[in-house]
């Protein structure tokens, strides 16, 4: 099923929870809404499910407006963060609840359908158990089986993993993703965890203060964030405010940050005319049509460089900083440098037990980055 949100706004009194959100989710797609708490992602989900009705705008399922359609008539499966299993019903009865109102899809009996779904979530034989006797991860899988039992057109997952510990979360996430692609059910996933969003989604919408900041494939968002918010929200990033100094014949842009001067390659974002350059889905963004294509000397701009793009001893765009602190993270070590203007985070690949030598607090370090690895944001 294809899901569309057309300029959906939701206001509570004078507070705006959603501000003209437009999205479109393809049939069978795993689509994620990500953003900090209060960004409107859960409100969006509730408007889709029909628990809230938009103040303005339209939600469409396969082109059909859902205005005035009750939640029970939408054919939507919902899984909540706290599972919301019916405590007075057994696991089997929970899964069977949706089958009270519709015949089991696939033509089998109700019991066959329950067994099939419990099997799907690796809980075969749990029919008669009490939901309270299950672990959090098991409860979450029952909730998933319950939501899928009536064969929904759309699966909505509202932070389904956030109550679980990290290891379990990773495993369950893969399982959800596997089941979703097996069944091919269109899925909208809400999370505040950006790494989760990048890991499982076909596409991701980043929401901030009730607005869509950017929609795109995970790699696209990571490497070419359109706004400062997206650049800072997804992964770690060094975001720098600069002033354009000149545009040399040899190409690129020379910008100044304080006393330092950097050369940036002109990325597609800067050269291209508006949103169509940013990705293959112009309909979902396209707010940047009026942006000047070529920054002129004196213009202010903001660019970002990922920590892993900053290299110790690189030839270009060199700056010297003092180590403020280090965090060992396994594959890499995050080194925080004070460089006069601001702090920079450098990810240094770990080279074994003794490799941290030279990164002690207080030592100076020369780092730099390739012009092409910087990315200009709005």
């Amino acid at each position: 099923m294809r899901l569309e949100l057309d300029a959906v706004s939701k206001r509570y009194g004078s507070a705006t929870a959603l501000d003209s959100v437009s999205l479109s989710v393809d049939d069978g797609e795993f689509f994620t809404l990500v953003g900090p708490s209060g960004c409107g992602k859960t409100t969006t989900l509730r408007c889709i499910a029909g628990f809230e009705s938009p103040t303005e705008g339209t939600v469409r399922f396969d082109g059909e407006s859902m205005a005035g359609v009750a939640p029970e008539s939408r054919g939507v499966g919902v899984v909540f963060q706290n599972y919301a299993l019916f405590p007075h019903l057994s696991v089997g009865e929970n899964v069977a609840y949706g089958l009270r109102f519709t015949d089991p899809p696939g033509g089998g009996t109700r019991d066959e359908r329950i067994a099939e779904l419990l099997d799907l979530v690796d809980l075969a034989g749990f029919e008669d158990r009490d939901p309270d006797s299950l672990s959090g991860g098991q409860q979450q899988r029952v909730a998933l089986a319950r939501a899928l039992a009536p064969g929904p057109n759309l699966l909505l997952l509202d932070e389904p993993m956030s109550a679980l510990d990290a290891r379990l979360r990773d495993r369950l996430r893969r399982q959800v993703k596997r089941i979703q692609s097996e069944l091919g059910v269109t899925t909208v996933y809400v999370t505040h965890d950006q790494s989760e969003a990048l890991a499982v989604s076909d596409r991701v919408a980043v929401l901030n203060r009730g607005r869509v900041e950017q929609v795109g494939r995970p790699r696209e968002l990571y490497h070419r964030p359109r706004t400062r918010f997206v650049a800072e929200f997804l992964g770690e990033n060094n975001v720098l405010d600069a002033v354009v100094e000149s545009r040399p014949e040899t190409g690129g842009i020379r910008v100044g940050v304080g006393d330092a001067v950097f050369t940036l390659a002109e990325g597609r974002r800067v050269l291209g005319q508006g949103g169509s350059a940013s990705g293959d889905r112009a309909e979902s963004d396209g707010r940047d049509g009026g942006r000047p294509a070529r920054p002129a000397p004196g213009d202010e701009l903001t660019f970002c460089v990922r920590p892993e793009q900053l290299r110790v001893g690189a030839e270009t765009n060199r700056v010297r900083g003092t180590v403020v602190d280090t965090e060992f993270q396994g594959a890499t070590t995050r080194v925080r440098l004070d460089w006069g203007e601001t702090e920079l985070v450098v990810a240094v690949e770990d080279g074994g037990e003794e490799s941290a030598a030279g990164f002690e607090v207080g030592t100076t370090l020369d780092i730099g980055f390739a012009p092409a690895s910087a990315h200009i944001v709005e």
Partner: protein, 571 residues
């Protein structure tokens, strides 16, 4: 009709059912509560169809009304509140800070006085403090002169404390148990001694609940009727009693004006109370409650001995106030004039049943009427209360107004509702040229239901509020209509509250006195409390016997509903 279209009709009905019942509840409230109350107000401000302030002004400028009635009403309510606090606060201390056998049981028993028919409690007090009551018998047995406590302010105050001290104990215990021990430990580690820590940390957390208990007590005792009528007579009359006496004299305008003044005061107090309550609703059990100690100290120091003696003395007073009146009533019902055991009082009731004249009060119709009205109340009040609970636990525009409108019956006395029903629907109302009249029996059920449903709501609403809204949302996304979600998911989860509310409704209906005495006409509609009051006016013996029957029926109904519901709750 085909099966599919039947299904569709059922579904549409289901989708609208909740709205429908809510609308029905609103209509019932409008017709059976707001309209009657408005009738009373109209009686007070309309003379021959013209608006006037004369009746109310006459009362507010009369020294008799201002001093003897209104001031006395406030005064006795104030003293009653003090007495209830004095009797209830030590109980809260014991319940929350001590461990002793039967603590949980005793704590749940504190709900009982609330559902006891007030006229029965009044009988109990007459049997205890009357000229030939238990107290004077005990005094004369040890050679002391008798005391006259009946028809004094003191008797009224003690009886009010019987009702309201348990209430104070309940709310304050809940607050005390939710005090986090870590806050006290923090204060101690910062240098406060135990007394200082209590004053600075514990007391501020208790004060709101003490305020709630005191305000509620004041509201209830301000509008107290049967207790004052039986223990004070017309010499010590509260507004409520005087309204009743005016109604008996058919002085409706004066009665209405007094009732309006009382209602305005009560509603103001209730509004204050609701505001108070809202600000401290979050109180739940603390994760780390204060530790309990044994009532019998492990090592005897002068301090611990004093404490134990104090607790023992308090237990004695509690026994005197709570157990003795009920025991006295039972005892008096089987005691003859010579002090020996007799069943004459019950024989009198049986004889009256067999040979009584039609104008005389017979026991059996009273019992049957009480049960019938209780059943009627159950049928009306439980759905109303449940729907109100659903409405008052959801967020929507105008929710505050609904809360107040729905809880208004709490603040308006039964006398006013009864008077309004009598002057309106019972006497007859012209609607579009047709004269509509309801019988006294119907009006009584209406008045009982209006008085009882807030208790259903109050029992059910907290459980609804604790339910995760996502349960209903999950059910709905799985295809259940709002009504189906209520029936399949919510009701099974709040069932204990519904049962408790139903038990309350039955007990309140059986014990209701205020509106019943105004609406009961002839043999068709008098109830057991009315019968008790009629007997009380003439002779104590049969009244105590009738009171014992009332006690029996009330307890039995309460238990039956509770038991019946308990069994269903397990399904």
């Amino acid at each position: 009709m085909s099966r599919v279209s039947v299904r569709r009709v059922v579904r549409v009905l289901e989708q609208r059912l909740l709205t429908l019942v809510a609308a029905l509840t609103a209509v019932v409230l409008l017709v059976l509560f707001y309209y009657p109350v408005a009738t009373v107000f109209a009686d007070a401000v309309l003379v021959d169809g013209r608006p006037t302030v004369e009746p109310i002004a006459a009362i507010l400028t009369s020294e008799f009304y201002l001093v003897d009635i209104i001031w006395f009403t406030a005064k006795q309510a104030f003293y009653s509140t003090l007495a209830s606090l004095a009797l209830g606060l030590p109980a809260a201390w014991l319940f929350s800070r001590f461990e002793f056998r039967g603590r949980e049981t005793l704590r749940s028993l504190t709900i009982l006085p609330f559902v006891m028919p007030s006229i029965m409690v009044a009988i109990g007090f007459v049997a205890t403090f009357g000229r030939n009551g238990t107290l004077n018998r005990a005094l004369s047995a040890v050679g002391l002169p008798p005391v006259e406590l009946l028809f004094t302010l003191e008797a009224i105050i003690v009886a009010h404390a019987f009702y309201n001290a348990p209430l104070v104990a309940r709310v304050v215990t809940a607050a005390w148990e939710s005090v986090d021990a870590r806050t006290v430990e923090t204060a101690r580690s910062l240098g406060a001694n135990p007394r200082r820590a209590f004053r600075d940390v514990v007391l501020p957390q208790l004060l709101p609940s003490i305020g709630v208990g005191a305000t509620l007590t004041f509201i209830f005792t301000f509008a107290s009727f049967p207790i004052v009528l039986a223990l004070g007579g017309f010499q010590l009359a509260t507004i409520e009693v005087f309204v009743y006496s005016r109604v008996r004299d058919l002085a409706y305008a004066e009665a209405a004006s007094l009732a309006v003044i009382e209602t305005v005061i009560s509603i103001t107090l209730t509004a204050v109370y609701l505001r108070y309550e809202a600000s401290q609703r979050s109180a739940g059990g603390a994760a780390n409650p204060l530790p309990r100690r044994s009532v019998v100290p492990s090592d005897w120091t002068p301090k611990s001995a004093l404490r134990t003696a104090g607790i023992a003395g308090y237990a004695l007073i509690v026994g005197l106030v709570f157990v003795v009146p009920i025991a006295s009533m039972v005892l008096a019902s089987v005691t003859g004039g010579d002090g020996g055991f007799t069943l004459a009082n019950y024989a009198f009731l049986a004889e009256r049943q067999a040979t009584g004249a039609s104008f005389q009060v017979k026991p059996l119709p009273a019992i049957l009427n009480s049960l019938a009205f209780a059943a009627g109340t159950l049928v009306v009040a439980v759905p109303m209360g449940v729907v109100m609970a659903v409405l008052t636990t959801r967020r929507y525009r105008g929710r505050g107004l609904i809360d107040v409108l729905a809880m208004a019956p709490f603040a308006v006395s039964g006398i006013v509702v009864g008077l309004g029903l009598l002057r309106g629907l019972v006497f007859g109302v012209d609607v579009l040229g047709t004269r509509i009249r309801v019988t006294g029996a119907l009006a009584i059920v209406a008045a009982h239901a209006v008085g009882a449903y807030p208790f259903v709501t109050r029992n059910v609403a907290p459980l609804f509020a604790r339910l995760d809204g996502r349960l209903v949302e999950s059910a709905r996304s799985l295809g259940a209509t709002r009504t189906r979600a209520l029936v399949d998911i919510e009701l099974p989860l709040v069932w204990t509250g519904v049962v408790a509310g139903a038990a309350f409704a039955v007990a309140i209906s059986i014990g209701e006195f205020d509106s019943t005495i105004i609406l009961a006409e002839g043999a068709g509609s008098y109830t057991m409390p009315i019968a008790v009051e009629r007997f009380l006016g003439r002779r104590l013996g049969p009244a105590t016997a009738m009171g014992c029957l009332l006690l029996l029926v009330t307890s039995a109904s309460f238990l039956v509903v509770d038991r019946f519901g308990g069994r269903w709750g397990e399904l």
